[in-house]
């Protein structure tokens, strides 16, 4: 199981607070997924 397998079903929130499933983000196109330490 790779990182994408572990991440795909995890939900994150968009800036409006809507939940998005991470795996949907790379279902159809390649993504550069950047985790940042914090905003600001």
């Amino acid at each position: 199981m790779n990182a994408a397998d572990r991440l795909e079903n995890i939900g994150v929130l968009d800036p409006e607070g809507r939940q998005v499933r991470l795996g949907d983000l790379w279902a159809k196109k390649t993504v550069v997924l950047a985790f940042i330490r914090h905003f600001g």
Binding site: V12, W26, G40
Partner: protein, 143 residues
């Protein structure tokens, strides 16, 4: 990484940014920095953990970042409710459809990032693999 945005999109990919604060922090950041990439937050750090990203005093306070780490700690103590977890480290992944991880970089400490060139090279491998697959060769997964 944002400097490489045009090159990422030029390769048919998108930059997705995940932070560890609350949705309004992402909204503020998007508006202030005029960010056009999709932004998300992971307040409970579930995705950070699943990605194997580091968290803790040791990774935050390496020799090169001691002073910055202490400053972040002070800021975290004062602003932890608004800025997220100052101990959480970041990372960068290139993921293609089918959960193919072409590139994975786990930041060891604050300020530790992959080069844009390494990320773009991974995108080129994905594109090249797609072209090769149309020619019949097998895909390769790297992690």
């Amino acid at each position: 990484m944002r400097d490489a945005l045009a090159e990422i999109r030029g390769r048919g990919a998108e930059l997705i940014v995940v932070g560890n604060g609350r949705p309004e922090h992402a909204a503020d950041f998007r508006d202030r920095e005029q960010v056009t990439s999709p932004l998300f937050v992971d307040p409970e750090l579930h995705a950070y953990a699943a990605a194997g990203l580091r968290r803790g005093l040791r990774s935050s306070l390496g020799p090169g970042v001691l002073l910055r780490g202490l400053q972040a700690f002070r800021e975290g103590k004062r602003q932890g409710a608004t800025r997220g977890d100052p101990w959480q480290q970041g990372g960068v992944f290139v993921i293609a459809p089918g959960n193919r991880v072409e590139f994975a970089y786990v930041s060891a400490e604050a300020g530790d990032h992959p080069s844009s060139a390494a990320v773009l090279a991974a995108l080129d491998r994905v594109a090249g693999r797609g072209a090769r697959r149309r020619g019949g060769s097998a895909p390769r997964t790297v992690e």
